[in-house]
Chain length 255, copies 2
Amino acid sequence: MHQTLSPFDISRIRGLAPAQERAGAEKESPCGACSVRHLTFCAPLGEEELNHVTRIVQNVELHPGDPLFDEGEEATNIYSVTAGAMKVYKLLPDGRRQIIGFLFSGDFLGLADDEVYAYSAEAIIHSTLCRFPRRKLEALLERYPRMERRLLGMASHELAAAQEQMLLLGRKTAREKIASFLLLLGQRAAQRGQTANPVSVPMSRNDIGDYLGLTTETVSRTFTQLRQGKLIALLPAGRVDLLDVEALREIAEGN
Amino acid sequence: MHQTLSPFDISRIRGLAPAQERAGAEKESPCGACSVRHLTFCAPLGEEELNHVTRIVQNVELHPGDPLFDEGEEATNIYSVTAGAMKVYKLLPDGRRQIIGFLFSGDFLGLADDEVYAYSAEAIIHSTLCRFPRRKLEALLERYPRMERRLLGMASHELAAAQEQMLLLGRKTAREKIASFLLLLGQRAAQRGQTANPVSVPMSRNDIGDYLGLTTETVSRTFTQLRQGKLIALLPAGRVDLLDVEALREIAEGN
DNA sequence: GCGACCGTTTGACGTAGGTCAAGGCCGGCG
DNA sequence: CGCCGGCCTTGACCTACGTCAAACGGTCGC
């Protein structure tokens, strides 16, 4: 089930690493403080409170294909991605897989309304995360209720994204799905301060398929179809040049 | 775009009304207090606080096909369904529709992370709702931060449901989708204290299709296929008897 | 530097579910 | 009371996408 390290992914890591290391270096701590600051963005804490929060976090480092946790496991931690890319997915007993989302630096995962994780999480490329023990986080929430507002905002945001994805999965064609996906990746990269146009696509065709409700082959075929239509260009190291963003947007919206 | 009152729906309203009127009568207020109590369930407020919250709510009454709000409209209110059934959906420009969810008494809608609603909402059957002006609710959250935990819990719960729905939309067959849907309706009815086995299905085949990423025809065909396999029986007034829940569960999980 | 492995691409073909069209059913209204 | 307009059902047919299979190409280990 676990993907082994692939040459293709390695090349992508090299391609991505500089920008992300730089992003990480701008924060003074290797891990905690930046995530904590992120978590409390909308509700700045005092210095003492910040230290209190920072103290409970730990670093996690994952290589491509490494699992972080599995669906059904006891949800003991919440994580924040500080660098790299993760995928979270659900499985059916016969192995069919639906990727629920891809996570990049700044994203959180592990928020469960139950006592167990509702999905599995795995690294796509070399990634570092920040671990918050759930128990301790809950105690902190009790103490600093403003953090709850921040979590609520993140959950609402994720919910809206999930609803948009439902529209995609239920009602869009393969072509529309791929166009939407590429634009989404670009948009999210821009939010992270990365380059949005030659967009970095670090995940495999298979992963893309499992995210969009398609097969590897259909994803591949649709990419070549868009390439032949001069809408995109496939660059080395898993980058995709969006040659005609406006046309892609038209396609993505179903026109 | 708005559905007009259909005879079929009328019959269902009559079927549903008694139970729901009773449920409403158990609370002392026609509207506010029960919703407020619901909202603060995990963080009980004192009498004075409760009154404070109750004061800001208003009743809304909708008939089948009545819109509550549209996607893109300024999100000025948050609602709680006190009786009836609503559908919330997103549209593509060409009219393709994805129903994001069905809401029953006790459910909330209108939580938007943006300033505008991310979806449209419409009544399926005669429904009553409780309106919370968003501005005032935000002021209350500032004052009673425990309510935020409740909202966070609801958002997390919805998120988990949305993720389950993504798995359904992306990876399940028509048969599996319908089986999952019927079981879900039953489960949700049970949570509301209604009968879970002859489950009430107040929405049209078309709505079910738009919820499951299918067409009316496929929904209909799949129902008859399940009926012929003695897994369900179609009762009058839009009720469905789940004759073999265990088999349905097997199908829903993809076995 | 060569072979093997994986992911990707491409092709030929199959099928689940969509489309189009025609009846059937039922409640409401004239 | 009988027509009318929804929705639902069923049938015949079509197609987008899945399946199966083969070839390709980059990377890494040897």
